[in-house]
């Protein structure tokens, strides 16, 4: 067979080669290395990983399907409260709690998605905002269950898989979060290359085209919205389980804005953009907040502006550029 032809049909088109092979190794090795090298900062590291997962979930909905949502934190918060309440009232087994919270957030995503996804543009944006506000308000009102402004405390988790206690230094929490993130990431990576994922990409680009080939556009959008909600719910649950507390801030509209910023900062539709954005965000937040606890948002804001104005695809744009440079240098220096 013609080798040129077989290459074209075997590998999905438009896939950046570096992202398929070595590109995977770097972030995950770094995450694992951090476990050994950054022992004093494992709490911070865990937060970063949770933020990665949260931003990743938004990437599916906003990056791929093009559903601009301003209320994504509703699902994160819902998952967090679900996991917290589950630990207090039902079972404190972490994995069970995680699955329950994930399903609960997914169902909330499905219900709200079916209600709002027939709209589009600014209307849809407003509705996502409204749902975010609504969920936050409900949590605030159900003081008896959620603790209202005081937050939900007294979460005690049983050892992970019955064997690994959640230690004071956050070793278990970090590895647990990393494992869950890896599982979701692998799933998302596969799904976004599937016919389903490609149809989302098409819906973002041109709904009329997708209707004209018979794609049930509304159902696909509901599906990815629910999937993103479930994933955000997992992130919320991890946050509740590893910090042993849930506060109203988890589902405030500000949190929806934050995750949006993180994703845009890192770069949409890349999956790894969520990594870049979340890590930079958490690190800058931590350092800048130490220097000036009141004005650290200024640094983030300036960074976001610089990225949006000067880079085409977020921080991943820099990485792309560097990778391309490195490849061409490598080619120059390797004699044939």
């Amino acid at each position: 067979m013609n080798p040129e032809r077989s290459r074209a049909t075997r590998s999905p088109p438009a896939e950046k080669p570096h992202a398929a092979g070595w590109g995977h190794l770097l972030p995950w090795t770094a995450a694992l290395a951090f476990y050994f090298l950054g022992a004093d900062f494992l709490g911070l590291g865990t937060n970063a990983l949770i933020m990665v997962l949260f931003a990743l979930s938004l990437d599916l909905v906003l990056g791929y399907a093009g559903i601009i949502t301003m209320g994504h934190a509703a699902f994160f918060g819902f998952g967090a409260y679900a996991a917290g309440l589950c630990a207090i009232h039902v079972t404190n087994d972490p994995v069970t709690g995680l699955l329950i919270a994930t399903a609960a957030a997914g169902i909330l995503g499905f219900v709200t998605g079916t209600l709002i996804l027939h709209t589009k543009g600014v209307t849809l944006m407003m509705l996502t905002l409204a749902i975010g506000a609504l969920v936050a308000e409900v949590a605030n009102h159900l003081r008896d269950y959620t603790g209202g402004d005081d937050g939900l405390h007294g979460i005690r988790m049983a050892p992970l898989l019955g064997a690994f206690r959640f230690d004071l230094w956050g070793h278990t929490a970090y590895l647990y979060t990393l494992a869950v993130l890896l599982a979701w990431f692998a799933l998302a990576w596969r799904i976004m290359r599937s016919p389903f994922g490609r149809s989302l990409d098409g819906i973002r680009q041109n709904v009329r085209r997708m209707r004209a080939i018979g794609t049930p556009v509304w159902w696909r959008m509901v599906a990815v919205y629910s999937l993103g909600a479930a994933m955000a719910g997992t992130a919320g649950a991890l946050s509740a389980q590893t910090t042993r507390a849930v506060g109203l801030t988890a589902l405030e509209l500000l949190a929806s804005g934050t995750v949006l910023m993180v994703l845009i900062l890192g770069g949409t539709r890349r999956l790894y953009g969520a990594f870049a954005g979340a890590v930079v965000y958490v690190v800058v937040q931590d350092f800048a907040a130490q220097v000036d606890p009141f004005r650290w948002m200024f640094v983030i804001g300036a960074l976001l502006m610089a990225v949006v104005l000067f880079l085409e695809n977020g921080l991943m744009g820099i990485i792309d550029f560097a990778a391309a440079r490195a490849r061409s240098l490598w080619r120059e220096q390797t004699p044939r």
Partner: protein, 262 residues
């Protein structure tokens, strides 16, 4: 006629695959469809012509569900499809192309066709186990692009393709859906003269029982393609007949006001 007879008649290409009954549509004071009646039997090759603004594209939009008619009904294989969403009509084999290219600009040509094939095969929902299914879609898409003369452009993003090639891609996608009824809205508009042959050949290769309605201003193409021509003016069917009848019709000449119909 009994059901069995009706089905028999259908296989002979006598019963219409698509029937339009009393279709009406106005945009305010502007009437774009006025009591249109039309049957497309299996194997129909109908050319729809008419001056700019006659309502030809609106007619296609009404049939495919992009526009909601004020009155009237559309039947696909004897079933009213008026309440079906556009995408469900497509799934039943009512396929169109657009007058203005409607493609995924940031996606390679190959994938534009492959996702259409995936929807046709009903595997558009697959999320995890899709390796062989998707590969089959890519292989078929590649063959279809090659047949359209787009083989070398398959990995290029659509926005990098010249307009004429995008036109051909638009048609390749419609054909990949294996339509029962194909509505072509000015397929050759913007295609360099030398390349309309590919369109003509591809349409010729379709199964004979597919019903095709082609809107076209390029009279050469219409007269080569159509066995029957319908002339639409101001939302009305002015007249219809064989290509030679239409070419010699005084009213049609008048409508085209000096523009020679062949």
């Amino acid at each position: 006629m009994s059901d069995a007879e009706a089905r028999h008649a259908n296989t002979l290409g006598a019963a219409p695959v698509l029937s339009v009954r009393g279709l009406c549509k106005s945009f305010g004071a502007l009437t774009v469809a006025q009591d249109i009646e039309l049957d497309l039997p299996g194997g129909a090759r109908i050319g729809l012509i008419g001056p700019n603004g006659a309502g030809k594209t609106s007619f296609v939009n009404l049939l495919t569900g992009m526009l909601r008619p004020d009155a009237g009904s559309v039947l696909l294989e004897d079933r009213a499809i008026d309440r079906l969403r556009p995408e469900l009509r497509v799934r039943r084999g009512l396929v169109r192309t657009h007058q203005i290219n409607t493609l995924l600009a940031e996606t390679p040509a190959l994938e534009n066709v492959a996702i259409a094939i995936a929807e046709r095969k009903r595997i558009g929902w697959r999320m995890l186990r899709y390796g062989t299914g998707w590969r089959a879609c890519l292989d078929e898409a590649e063959a279809r692009l090659a047949a359209m003369g787009l083989g070398d452009d398959r990995l290029r993003l659509v926005r990098e393709l010249p307009y004429g090639k995008q036109r051909l891609l638009e048609i390749a996608i419609a054909l990949a859906l294996k339509p029962r009824v194909l509505l072509l809205d000015e397929p050759a508009a913007g295609v360099p003269a030398g390349e309309t042959r590919a369109i003509h050949e591809q349409l010729g290769d379709l199964p004979q029982d597919v019903a095709i309605l082609m809107i076209e201003h390029d009279m050469d193409l219409v007269f080569r393609f159509a066995r029957e021509i319908v002339v639409m003016v101001q939302g009305r069917v002015l007249t219809r007949g064989s290509p030679s009848e239409i070419a010699n019709d005084d009213r049609v000449r008048e409508v085209y006001l000096g523009r020679r119909v062949r």
